[in-house]
Subunit: 245 residues, 2 copies
DNA sequence: TCAATGCGTATGTCCGGACAATCGAACTAC
DNA sequence: GTAGTTCGATTGTCCGGACATACGCATTGA
């Protein structure tokens, strides 16, 4: 019942990556059942005509994803639990689209303003210097779901209102050649103010789910600071996380 | 200004791990300043008397942690932004202790009950079968901060009330030989019921931050299902996450 | 002046081998 | 029968080398 694995040495795709993708697909399709052993690395390498380090690299990437578990003296097993996705740095837009919700966006504000103390601190710019400010309403099935307020340092991205309504902010940033690296997030809750309630179609004092995020590129520059509020009846943060060991 | 790195070959600690720890410490202490190049791998390996794969393994582990960035043809640089911690699967108890808050725990309930449909589904046991139920109140500075309700399958851990008040649930599970692997979480918000408000010292209808979590061990078994409510004025989820690339 | 080219450098990928550490099971001794 | 021991199997660590690939910079050419 052994899998028919194969690699294409003429492909520019790295061999370990080809192998890891095939293994991941096999797990996804149930050809490798949870709990089953993967066969030892030496034999697997010999069967594929690869070296052991290459096979190990492929396996390791799946272990990092939480799909496999290695046990010394035993072997490598497929993890039982279904791993979904490990809380990526994804935009709400991508989240909704992946869920098949076809999100709609309404740009409320798209302008340049002097940075407040809070925004200046988050973005690492001088207080009062000009920054982009974007306020958006995210709708699903015609109902407001979240209010998104973002600030960006100047000169990074061309913020076209039309594009902002057609796609997510992160896609625009990536398209502008920005390499997103990490983000600091804070998730909390609070009661809605009258203004917030109005925007989201809730009543004043209703509980809101809040998220603050500062995103950095790979040079360590802050490239975005967002303050978001969600209607908890319509949205919650769902994710899977792995134990770092 | 080169760092004085060294490895102890007689130590049972893997060489790559010794190196990665020293590099991490150097970054932490500012001896390696953000943006600075790390020096090429070949030379570094030669200087330490290690092979290049070993040095690469050390560097890679720090890249995975978000501390370093590699650029082909350029070198390896220290990331500017201060990386805190990447949302580990840590207990609230550990979180608070790390923040120097000396958390207190009050065990409200520690008993065995028949599993409700929700609990049975989460833990993968038969509905109505016996499961442990633990209800705790977590306090900081004498003030209630969170209400924690957990269900565990039988026979896994010896749930001693005294130990539950002295430490966190995860520590007990780890001490019982359980290898935590992953967890599915959901973070949301809602208005407090009268009972919840009473427990946490809030008023009815006040916004609460909620978290539901099912934890799995490395065999894929569900080992814990928790339903937690937090006072948003006292607690929020803060974490840093990396872009998977 | 500006764009295209070439080159050095550093990381990315891959190989084949060696020994150590650990787990589980079969085996042995009491 | 039970407990301790040995042993095979498998992953963990480490080595030294080779070639590919991409980036930045200097040189060259229009």
């Amino acid at each position: 019942m052994s899998l028919d694995l194969s690699v294409d040495r003429s492909s520019p795709v790295p061999l370990y990556f080809q192998l890891s993708q095939q293994l991941e697909a096999a797990i996804e399709h149930g050809e490798l059942t949870p709990g089953s052993l993967l066969g030892n690395e030496i034999e697997l390498a010999g069967r594929l005509g690869l070296s052991r380090p290459t096979v190990r690299q492929a396996i390791q990437s799946l272990v990092d994803k939480g799909l496999l578990v290695r046990r010394r003296g035993v072997g490598t097993q497929v993890v039982h639990s279904k791993v979904k996705r490990p809380l990526e740095l994804s935009s709400l837009y991508d989240d909704l689209e992946a869920a098949g919700q076809r999100p709609a966006t309404k740009v409320l504000v798209n302008t340049v303003v002097p940075a407040t103390a809070e925004v200046a601190a988050a973005l690492g710019v001088a207080e009062g210097s000009e920054v982009h400010r974007v306020e958006r309403l995210r709708l699903a099935h015609g109902e407001p779901m979240a209010y998104l307020c973002n600030h960006l340092p100047p000169g990074l991205v061309d913020l076209d209102t039309g594009q902002l309504e057609a796609t997510g902010l992160y896609r625009l940033m990536r398209a502008a050649g920005i390499t997103l690296h990490s983000a600091r997030q804070s998730i909390g809750a609070r009661a809605a103010t009258a203004e917030e309630a109005e925007r989201l179609g809730e009543h004043e004092g209703a509980p809101l789910l809040t998220m603050e995020r500062t995103t950095f590129d790979d040079t360590g520059r802050a490239v975005e600071f967002g303050t978001h509020t969600y209607r908890p009846s319509r949205y919650s943060f769902e994710f899977q996380l792995l134990v770092r060991s």
